[in-house]
């Protein structure tokens, strides 16, 4: 399984050369390249044109591709989601941007009852190649209505795929795969990562949907996570290494389709599993991950699978409270220590 990942890595993911860019630049390149590659691709959303996108992902694309393919919409999230459905079912490949994933609540009917189900309800005939992009996550003082991590809602809806990149390299490769995918893909970008820099090779490459990645190898415990928490988990692993605890970090990268096998293989080796995400722990996607782990690796576990997510509250505004509400490097490290102390 790890092999499969590595194979995939070798086949599609080897950086050709070194080039450090920001994650939002990486996303821009993905959109730009795919727009050049396929005339059916266009972008619609709020403030994506003149403003360049709230997080500048589409900056400069209006000038380059014109108002016919970079479409500024009014504040009408249901329209954005629904127009993407109408355009997709008639042959386009729309990329619809929600400024914040929190606003998708306004568009849930179009996303869930229309986009996700049309193909199935119509007997498998319709094809809806839509990417719904949205800025997600907390950590920059946006308060409760601009900070949620709602991936769990979407993973529960058959007909949707869910992608949660953690690095600029993967952000670009995964977005290009999502745009070329013939399904409805929910692409969740952590807003605290837009300004993170990483190595992104020049030119064409893809990161396939549905393939987890082992971000760090270790023998004692496995952390299964995704999105920004991958970065925190790697830092925690670094700290723990000082203490002689070797942690393996598995980045799921896509939540549906879910490659759990990579995590299972790791846990069969480490016998300890910690599932981490920034979303509220209760009812979060961690429940699916933990359940599958204990279903598939029951006999390998020296301790119960432990989950670490946000406390049970909306995201508070005040800085100390906000940072105290979701998993931190310290909390992750501590959770691993407790997990191992149990065996």
């Amino acid at each position: 399984m790890t092999t499969r990942t590595t194979v995939a890595a070798v086949r599609e993911e080897t950086p050709q050369e070194d080039r450090l860019i920001f994650l939002n630049q990486a996303l821009r390149e993905a959109v730009d390249e795919e727009m050049q590659r396929d005339p059916a691709v266009f972008v619609l959303g709020e403030e994506i044109g003149v403003w360049g996108g709230a997080y500048k992902v589409t900056e400069g694309l209006l000038e380059k591709h014109g108002p016919n393919r970079i479409i500024d919409t009014p504040i009408s999230e249901a329209l954005i989601a629904g127009a993407a459905v109408g355009a997709a079912i008639t042959g386009h490949r729309p990329i619809a941007e929600f400024m914040y994933s929190d606003f998708m609540g306004i568009a849930m009917d179009q996303i869930v009852n229309q986009a996700a189900k049309n193909r199935y309800m119509f007997g498998g005939k319709a094809t809806l190649p839509i990417v719904y992009r949205a800025a997600t996550g907390a950590g920059i003082g946006n308060a409760a209505q601009h900070t949620q991590s709602l991936e769990a809602w979407f993973t529960h809806v058959p007909g949707l795929k869910v992608v949660t990149p953690s690095t600029p390299y993967e952000a670009k490769g995964l977005l290009k795969s999502a745009i070329r995918d013939d399904n409805v893909v929910i692409f969740l970008e952590h807003k605290a990562l837009y300004a993170s820099r990483g190595n992104v090779p020049e030119g064409e490459y893809l990161v396939p949907l549905g393939v987890s990645d082992v971000k760090r190898v270790g023998a004692h415990a496995t952390i299964v996570t995704y999105s920004r928490q991958v970065i925190f988990a790697l830092e925690a692993a670094e700290q723990l290494a000082q203490e002689g605890i070797e942690v393996e970090v598995v980045d799921l990268r896509t939540l549906y389709p879910l490659d759990i096998a990579t995590a299972i293989t790791s846990i069969q080796k480490t016998n300890h599993a910690l599932v981490v995400h920034e979303a509220v722990q209760f009812g979060g996607f961690g429940g699916e991950i933990a359940s599958q782990i204990q279903e598939q690796a029951f006999d390998y576990l020296d301790a119960p699978v432990v989950r670490l997510g946000a406390l049970h509250s909306p995201v508070p505004f005040s800085e100390p409270l906000e940072f105290g509400s979701f998993p931190s490097v310290e909390k992750i490290a501590e959770a691993v220590r407790v997990l191992l102390s149990r065996a």
Partner: protein, 305 residues
């Protein structure tokens, strides 16, 4: 040519009147779908509603596949997975009936946006009931279409009721058509039981959209002869009201005009009537003779691979 179209119209109207086994009947409202679709090209798009049989047939939908879908058979339009509220025929530009009131409006705007982006002269027609008038989807969809001058015609079928709710309890303001002003687009009211009147208004709106002049909002005044669903006896409606409307039966009126204008003889029309009746019965036989889908179909068709 006009006669030819009216013949199609008549045929389709009759067909609608003969639909059975459905959940939401279109009976009494046939002239609207018929009058509008008569001027659409096969490659034009329509979005429909929970009361979608009439729209589907008027756009050319096949009775066999429709009936089989209502029966949940594998030979149905959706292989039995969609049912009455989710019939679609993408080859005919029928982007689907819809179980969510108002949801077809942003979708129609999107189809029109797509046509505009490609620089084609295809248009989209969006059917919706007056009950969808209060939905946010109506507002977001029509406003965007107007801002972008999209090639779409919004056709409100005002049959006076949304379940038991009268139009005035649902929609503030004098009329749906009257909202055109608010969006800076033409808003036109028409007798929805007069196929000729509907056709005349629709033709202009369709032509306007095709020429890139933007959307039009049409309000067709009609009436739901039956209850909301097959189960509803509509006790909330006055008997007199229904009887008054029954006198305006769009098909009866069509027959009168045809006769008086000597465009079709009573004999011709009875003939069409018979043919349609036979076709409908055949579709039922077809449906009943068709097998149910197999259980392994449940998880198929969710994703494209």
């Amino acid at each position: 040519m006009r006669i030819r179209r009216f013949e199609e119209a008549a045929e389709e109207a009759f067909r609608n009147a003969r639909m059975r086994g459905a959940l939401h009947f279109y009976i009494g409202e046939e002239a609207t779908a018929t009058g509008v679709c008569a001027d659409l090209r096969t490659d034009d798009y329509i979005t429909s509603t929970h009361r979608g049989h009439g729209h589907c047939i008027a756009k050319g939908g096949q009775l066999n596949k429709m009936m089989a879908e209502l029966f949940g058979r594998v030979t149905g339009y959706c292989g039995g997975k969609g049912g009455s509220m989710h019939i679609a025929d993408l080859d005919l530009g029928i982007l689907g009936a819809n179980g969510i009131v108002g949801a077809g409006i942003p979708i129609a705007a999107g189809a029109a946006l797509g046509a505009k982006i490609r620089g084609e002269d295809r248009i989209a027609v969006c059917f919706f009931g007056e009950g969808a008038g209060p939905t946010g989807a109506f507002h977001e969809g029509v406003n965007f279409a107007a801002v972008q001058d999209l090639p779409v015609v919004f056709v409100c079928e005002n049959n006076k009721y949304g379940m038991a709710t009268t139009s005035d309890k649902a929609n503030a303001g004098p009329s749906i058509a009257g909202r055109g002003v608010a969006y800076g687009i033409p808003g036109i009211k028409v007798d929805g039981n007069d196929v000729f009147a509907v056709n005349a208004v629709a033709r202009d709106a369709i032509d306007r959209a095709r020429r890139g002049k933007g959307p039009t909002l049409i309000e067709a005044e009609t009436y739901r002869f039956k209850g909301h669903t097959v189960h509803d006896m509509a006790p909330y409606r006055a008997k007199e009201e229904l009887e008054a409307w029954l006198k305006k039966d769009p098909i009866e009126r069509f027959r009168q005009v045809m006769k008086s204008k000597k465009l079709l003889t009573v004999k011709d029309m009875d003939q069409i009537d018979e043919d349609v009746a036979r076709e409908v019965e055949a579709s039922i036989e077809f449906a009943e003779a068709s097998p149910y889908p197999s259980l392994d179909a449940i998880e198929q068709g969710v994703y494209a691979d």
